[in-house]
Symmetry: C5
Subunit: 330 residues, 5 copies
């Protein structure tokens, strides 16, 4: 079972005490003391590996079922013996411009926190380190962990939203650049971007309701002093959500603008093509006239008739070219 339990420690008066092999006993000790709590961190446990935890901490079977399966929505559920919170941390892959959501579940009880991590992205190790250097906060008990973890997750949302903002600016440059470079995949890129945004929002939007509930009284196991902290997290979450919602709307606008842009370009191309066609048609017509076989066509007998006609052709071409140029058709 060592591979599954990532970290385990009891925090007494803000100081860390590493778990002995038996976390059940550690929990009982923490409970007995009153001002301590146990933090058990797990990584993708199987049903069997989790069974002991379930019974030891008296977790609700429905919450356990959710904790073992990834693909949950962010939520907060209140059970008799603990809170169950699902968070979806996000990773942004800069090279591929993709957003990936992983999962992070927390069971928060009177004197324990169990964190279960699914997928690659997880700020847990860093959060634990930072917390352990702030014994003052750790003294708030399990709520401190819940606050610190959700704060870290939500702050990363804001970073990712910033990255997406930069991507949008690149896309804008591409769509509205005068040189039409490689417009073939613009629609596909915009669509792919929309998908990323939707992935993002699927992780962040449902979290608003739990955060609102955590900052109001009525949820058990939450320290009164912790409420303003959850309000702060909620505020950051709203910021991330507003920013990404704006992104979403701008992407729709950019797609519409791209469509209009295509129409303008098509028109330009059509006019340019037609102008060249006109340049070819006129001398062809003249040549056709002098290719007629009438017996009496005075021009044909002229000494420099041929050169004169060639000259006329060139003059007409130059005039037309200038005309089209001036009208912006070429």
């Amino acid at each position: 079972m060592p591979g599954v339990i990532v970290d385990c420690a009891t925090y007494r008066e803000g100081r860390r005490i590493d778990c002995a092999a038996d976390f059940g006993r550690a929990l009982q000790e923490a409970r007995a003391e009153g001002h301590s709590f146990l933090w058990l961190g797990m990584y993708e446990p199987t049903q069997e590996e989790f069974d002991m935890v379930t019974s030891e901490f008296a977790l609700h079977p429905l919450a356990v079922e959710d904790a073992l399966n990834a693909h949950q929505r962010p939520k907060l559920e209140v059970y008799d013996d603990s809170l169950f919170v699902v968070l979806k941390p996000i990773t942004y892959d800069v090279s591929a411009d993709t957003v990936t959501a992983s999962e992070l579940m927390l069971f928060v009880g009177d004197s324990f926190v169990v964190t279960v991590r699914h997928g690659a992205a997880s700020p847990l190790r860093a959060v634990r380190k930072r917390l352990e250097q702030q014994p003052r906060i750790l003294r708030h008990g399990p709520t401190a962990v819940l606050y610190a973890v959700s704060d870290a997750v939500v702050d990363h949302y804001i970073d990712v939203a910033g990255e997406l903002q930069l991507d949008l600016e690149e896309l804008e440059a591409e769509v509205f650049s005068p040189d039409r470079g490689d417009t073939k995949n613009t629609a596909a890129r915009i669509y792919a971007f929309k998908r990323e945004v939707m992935e993002f929002r699927r992780a962040t939007v449902p979290l608003a309701d739990p955060m609102t509930r955590l900052q109001n009284p009525g949820v058990p196991f939450v320290h009164d002093h912790a409420r303003p902290f959850f309000r702060d997290v909620d505020d950051h979450l709203t910021r991330a959500n507003e920013s990404v919602e704006g992104l979403d709307r701008l992407l729709s606008d950019i797609l519409a603008a791209h469509l209009a842009q295509m129409g303008v370009r098509q028109n330009d191309d059509m006019r340019k093509i037609s102008a060249w066609a006109a340049l070819a048609a006129v001398p062809t017509l003249i040549a056709g006239v002098y290719g007629m076989n009438f017996h009496r066509m005075p021009e044909l007998d002229w000494r420099y008739g041929y050169e004169a006609v060639l000259l006329v052709m060139v003059v007409i071409e130059v005039c037309l070219y200038r005309l089209f140029k001036r009208r912006g058709w070429l």
Copy 2:
């Protein structure tokens, strides 16, 4: 009446006892005992076939009318003597990519459950089997059946939502593939997909309200211990709904992107066609010039004039071809 009654059994302390021919008496016995309940399963009964059930179980005539007609919306109605719940299970036909909703009605009373099934898809037989192997849950009485059935129905929604997700990915590949294969029906396919999604949502969206009510106190005939289970079902339902709503929005985006894509392709085609037209126009023009009948046209008398002109034509063609190629017009 045997064809209509699909299954009938009394559950006493979690154990199944097959119904005798007379379910009216079975009901009275179950009522008398207190800890038993009768589960009667029917398939598309007619008015006449249902009449005896109606009177025996004292069902409300409005609920009975709904139970006999398919084409109901998912709902929960509270009558004096029973709850009436309508669910719409969904089947997904993989080969035709179509979603079909059938209907499933439950009357839940103090000591009976009557299930009425319409249409092909129905998870009832499997649910009953599974329940009969979990006597512990069956002891919760009629509510257990309601929970188990709605859980099975909603879990299947999530599966179907997953299938639709795969279909979307296929569609994306089709729309954004560089080779334009068979784009003629893309719009029709997207539209058909939208219809499937709407069919899906018609079954799932109205169910949210009943599930919310079932997880809160205030609905009679629902066991207190069953509330968290309905919260769980509701959570899954929300997941299915969010997933399909996202699908719906992506389909609108994909249609818009397809439109933009068409514009880009049309522009490409137009340029390609025009380039070929230009390739034909230039030699035609030259030939026209040397087809003029001027008496004095020096080139006509040259020894290799004809070959020279042909050569000029070929050279011009090659140059133009390269030019167009470089500009991406061909």
Copy 3:
């Protein structure tokens, strides 16, 4: 005044008694008896024709003003002496695919119902007939009439929604059929359909609020036993509304799909046209070449030069034709 009063009867214990000439006295008798009520049906009365009714039944002047003017919205208004309900029955003209809303007002008091009908469509006669055959329901008093009328009106909404569904399927067939028949008016047809749907919704959507109020306690003159019936009507109304709202959304989608479809077809046509143009351009070019007047053009002197060139032309044409055919351009 006989042309205006369509029907008038007192219902005592569920039995019909035709009104004497003087409905004022009939009302007083009904009131005195306690278990009777008067039902007075009118058709498009003028102010003068309605004056006597107003004073006799003590109707509120604002309600009377609304009852005399058509173009009301569906609503329920509670006055001291009566309820005032406006319904908008709908007729669907199959041949013209049009939806027309007429109007139906009800004044419901302690022992009377006054129905005022505007426009062609009205289910009143049929409703009265059916009610008179159900004395049990009639005993509920004026509420029974209100229920029966709104039930008939709303049930007809569902029928009309079904008709519109069929129309949509026709439209889908037209838009997505491979043969492009008569696409000139598709956009106009979709738009006209949208107008019909809006007409429909204008009649049905505002009715949801009155129906919700009627099924909850707090509205006077409504029999307690009648509440579930209004819940049933409300359920049907929601069904009709959802169905038509879905229609509305599908119509928007179909318009967008039609636009994309037009783009695809335009592209197809452009390629086909260009292919034919290419087929004409190549032999023209060849003919131009051999129309040049060079003195020394070996082919011109060949014995079967002419036939050879014709053959070359034909061969090139056939090859090009096949090439275009294979690429799907023709």
Copy 4:
């Protein structure tokens, strides 16, 4: 100050008594009597001109500031000594199809009404005349004026909505007429229409909230008997709003339909143009063939070769023309 005060009168028991020069004294008399009230009508007063009114009627400085500046939103504000109501009457210019909103403010106190009018459109004179002929209503005091004015303003909204409905029908005829007359400005017209609708809604939508508040208890200075009247006004307002909201949605639909229509027409035009081009290309090709200079071209020596070729050309043209005609390309 006579130019600013448009009208001033005390209403005692429903009878009008013209103001003496000093309206301050008139107000004191009205207050003393109890059943009288003063109605002072002003037109675009300046700060200085309004100062005396402000102090005499003890109006709140914030309300006064709003009353002196136009460009307010419709609203109802409750101050200690009076209500302040802003209405936006609308005028519709039939010739220019434009909607213009002006402004109308009312201060309603215990025994006075001050109306301040900005802009051209104002129904005040007519409302006062009508009220003075209905002493029964005038007895309700200041509320009667508030009701009568808002009723007049809202009824005019319905008229204007009707005018816009007619404009929409004209627009529909223009967009969907088979003859394409003058489509150049259709998009501009639709857009201009949308602007008018937005202007309209800016005047009417924010009024819904004040009207709802006025029909419920809790707003001071409003007579209990007046509540149903405000409910009536609110009902009309909802009617106007629904009608114009429908208009707005239909305008969006019409713009989308117009876009699709343009696509269809472009396709038609393209096919027609191409058909004519084909009609020109075929005889040109034939002429080119017989313009070749092969020494041996049998047809050239035929007696009626020339006529035969001309005939062939004409026959081909006629056939092609018929073919295109049959396929609907011409």
Copy 5:
């Protein structure tokens, strides 16, 4: 620290008293007196520079963290010892048509106001000057500052909304002008405008909730007499929001109209081009016919055959030109 503290003064009975060097003592004096308050204005302080303020005024660490970082959303937070308000003033750059939001935070306590300013735009100096000339208002204490600042910020929103309105009118003129000048960047301009509007709304929309709360009882540190003032600010804010929301919707409409416009123009151009092509094709065809080499072509021997054919060409051209002109193709 002088560069960071922009201004510091105690206001006693509405009169300004410049701070001594030590604002901690000034605060204590103000507190002791009861009717005084301290206003401390800072500009982009660093953590260190702010530390003393934090401890002196007992500000909440979470609020302080927000005050030091720009990129907050407008909000109102209630802490035990003070209110924390974030406002986002807007600047509009006329030459570049861009909207920029800066930030302004206020800590409002029992006898102090601390204002922290980020970014260029800030109305603080002007607000302070104006307030100092209105001792009557200053007597309301810290609330007066909060009101005056938010009033100034929101009033400027209305000004900027007016500027954007003018920009929209310019854009409309550009999009719908008959001469097509420079349509290449229209889509880009509309999109850029949408971004500005979104920037604007990000500053104003979240402010609605704080303003609503400030005008209702329940928020500490707010003077009862100040509530109507905040209602006034809220009213102006709603006005700005409605105006910009309307702008947003019109921009979407204008983009759609622009798209339709492009379609119409493309069609016009295509017809014009085709008409010119037809003008070139007809004489080319005729010349081709008379370029055929039939031995017997009567016209070739005519005395003025050549001139006749030229004349025929000219006549046909003129007729065609007129025909096209009449049909509006040229």
